[in-house]
């Protein structure tokens, strides 16, 4: 075919593809996703006025692979950390580990420990933000508090100004530590295949020892706050353990050789709804265990355990749905790797009953246990003589082909997968982010909450609150274009009758 004909042919093909795509979208998505809104929930009632189905719509990040194709693989830690302003360090680290794998090179001990130190500082900072600021309105202020108090100002009023200052100050110290190695917190430039770009100078070590010590003190203080405000209130404990927020699913998380949780590295372990080990595999094998199911009503791909096949939004022995995030990590670990976190972990299970704990709202408590673990690990690392070493890099010499890396992001297991040509230019790229891993369970939680609160067409007051609490415990990311003003996500619930006519719209205001 001559070049002109080829061009016409290609253009026509493109138009046909676009038209087919547009048609498909319209047919399968309308009318449910009339608006591609943030955190939009659609509830469909049957002819009795009871909930038939409830859906949470999450906008999807588009064009990731197209954007990456042809770029050098070394850019991936920078590009992926720019995707999301919430967890840049998690993306940066997962991509860096995928580059290690791509070039078949391992970082020297000092580089590995620096990565781990930065990563644990990030976990501590991010978890603290959630416990106090984002999840705080649910537990610290309380689910029944007046709406105008259920916000960050209400949290600070409840815990006191001094604590507010402590949170802000601690967060800043931890971010300074991350910035020391990464240049910037939001777009770090630390990770290189086989190492890191900067070491820790011996003269700066005392400062870092202080940050780690303060971090541990702060994490233990947070456990005390959680005790005083949440655990001493029997109503909260009742809420955490209530059936409305309970799902018997599988759990996934990363563990070390002793089957103890490790945020930075290890193998992926999965336990079944009774807590028995179902699988243990290196990140490189993720495609053998994780598959994605697509529903016509959502852009979201729902992850499930591939060997079990998609069994629907089902819990119990028949389920193939799994969950990630703090609660899942505690459920897959055999114990915590550090002493004070271990103590907090034992208290967690002795209070909430046998392992695994299936109560979604227990994620908040699990997050506090993990804060202690992250801080203790920081203390260990700054006291390790390797940390000020100068051997920061193993230079890659092998030809690249496929690289897969995983970390435990604050919100759960995060997989990065890149395939390149022999020059290291990206040919394929795939991410599975925590919220995707959790998507099926989140959908189940939203539906369960809706079913409990709508009967015979009557919508119980407080529906928004309760539904929101159901998914906030997972701390989901609604796509990654989350920067857009107003900087947060107005929750909207639309309720439709059996003919899919809109009955009612509730917007949080």
């Amino acid at each position: 075919m001559n070049p002109d004909s080829q061009k016409v042919w290609n253009e026509a093909n493109q138009r046909a593809n676009d038209a087919a795509q547009a048609q498909r979208r319209r047919v399968t998505v309308d009318p449910i996703t009339r608006l591609e809104g943030h955190g939009k929930i659609d509830i469909f009632l049957d002819n009795q006025g009871d909930v038939e189905k409830a859906y949470l719509q999450i906008p999807e990040l588009r064009g990731f692979e197209v954007f990456c194709i042809g770029r050098p693989a070394e850019e991936m830690p920078q590009i992926t950390s720019r995707i999301c302003g919430v967890c840049p360090t998690a993306h940066h680290m997962a991509a860096t580990k995928a580059l290690d794998d791509l070039y078949q090179v391992q970082p020297p001990p000092t580089a590995r420990k620096i990565r781990e130190l930065v990563y644990n500082a990030f976990m501590l900072e991010d978890h603290a933000l959630h416990v106090y600021i984002l999840g705080g309105p649910d537990f610290i202020v309380g689910p029944d508090a007046p709406k105008e108090e259920r916000n960050v100002v209400g949290v600070i009023q409840k815990v006191g100004l001094e604590v507010g200052k402590k949170v802000i100050g601690m967060r800043r110290q931890l971010r300074e530590l991350i910035a020391y190695f990464g240049g910037k917190v939001i777009h770090p430039v630390m990770g290189l295949p086989g190492g890191v770009s900067k070491g820790l100078k011996a003269e700066d070590l005392p400062r870092f020892k202080q940050v780690a010590k303060d971090g541990l003190e702060f994490a233990l203080f947070t456990l005390q706050v959680f005790h005083d405000i949440v655990l001493k209130n029997p109503r909260y404990v009742e809420l955490i353990t209530s059936d409305a927020y309970t799902h018997r699913t599988y759990y996934m998380g990363q563990v070390d050789e002793q089957n103890q949780v490790n945020f930075y590295d290890g193998q992926i372990r999965v336990v079944d709804p009774d807590g028995r080990e179902y699988a243990r595999f290196p990140a490189q094998k993720y495609r053998d265990f994780v598959a994605e199911h697509v529903e016509p009503w959502s852009y979201v791909k729902f992850c499930y355990l591939k060997p079990l096949g998609w069994q629907g939004f089902q819990e119990g022995p028949q389920s193939s749905v799994y969950s990630v995030a703090p609660l899942a990590r505690l459920n897959v670990t055999e114990s915590m790797p550090t002493p004070q976190a271990r103590q907090a972990y034992q208290e967690f299970y002795s209070t909430l009953g046998a392992k695994p704990v299936h109560h979604t709202l227990a994620n908040h408590w699990a997050r506090v246990v993990e804060m202690i673990c992250a801080a203790e690990r920081m203390v260990e690392l700054v006291n390790d003589p390797d940390i000020t070493g100068t051997d920061l890099r193993c230079l890659p010499t092998k030809k690249p082909s496929v690289g897969i890396g995983a970390v435990e992001a604050p919100r759960g297991t995060l997989f990065h997968h890149f395939e390149t040509d022999a020059r290291g230019l990206i040919e394929r790229a795939n991410l599975i982010v925590a919220t995707q891993n959790n998507a099926a369970r989140i959908a189940m939680s939203v539906e369960k909450a809706a079913k409990g609160l709508i009967k015979k067409g009557q919508v119980t007051e407080g529906l928004l609150n309760m539904v929101e609490m159901a998914f906030r415990a997972y701390d989901p990311c609604f796509g990654c274009a989350t920067h857009t003003l107003p900087g947060h996500l107005p929750l909207a619930v639309s309720i439709y009758d059996q003919n899919h006519e809109l009955l009612k719209e509730l917007v949080q205001s």
Binding site: I83, I133, I168, A481, H483
Partner: protein
């Protein structure tokens, strides 16, 4: 002032060399989400010799914004927004009271309004005058380095509006 607060470096008396901060927010690789950054870059080019105005481009959010804005008297924010109520390229001009009217609890983030409220509660020197230019965008969800056409076209007008506001002596004493 408490020791903790002084140590945090966010002390109430924190001094900035300039009075006015123009803060462009957005994600540089999410198509239209970058519009605030693009506006800020152009504003920076035009006010680079100003003794009064500092320009920052940032992809940060929530609490971190407090670190950026504390110590300035006046704050001008340029960011992307999707209300679905206006055509792409339309500029909503809001002040802080409009932020307060937005939902108080977010499932995931701390909004700018909440960050400012928190800063005040903690006695930080957050700006007393806050103006927002929220630009209605078409596509903030596709990875890419370029803006959609309507957003590209609106850039000069938005830059001019920001410069006009800044040049009007925004936040000047008395």
């Amino acid at each position: 002032m408490s020791l903790a607060l002084a140590e945090s470096g966010l002390s109430a008396g924190r001094q900035r060399l300039k009075r006015v901060l123009v803060l462009g927010l957005g994600n540089p690789i999410l198509s239209d989400d970058a519009v605030g950054l693009r506006v800020a870059a152009e504003v920076q080019r035009q006010v680079s010799d100003s003794a009064d105005v500092e320009v920052i481009e940032s992809s940060e959010m929530g609490l971190t914004l407090l670190d950026l804005v504390t110590g300035f008297e006046s704050l001008v924010v340029v960011d992307a927004v999707q209300t679905g109520l206006a055509a792409p390229g339309f500029v909503h001009q809001w002040d802080e009271s409009d932020l307060k009217a937005l939902p108080p609890v977010s499932p995931h983030f701390l909004g700018l309004g909440e960050a400012l409220a928190l800063g005040r509660l903690l006695g930080l020197a957050v700006p007393t005058r806050v103006q927002l230019f929220a630009i209605e965008v078409a596509d903030p969800f596709t990875l890419g380095n370029s803006l959609t056409p309507a957003l590209d076209r609106c850039l000069p007008a938005v830059v001019e509006q920001v410069l006009l506001l800044v040049g009007s002596g925004l936040g000047s004493k008395g």
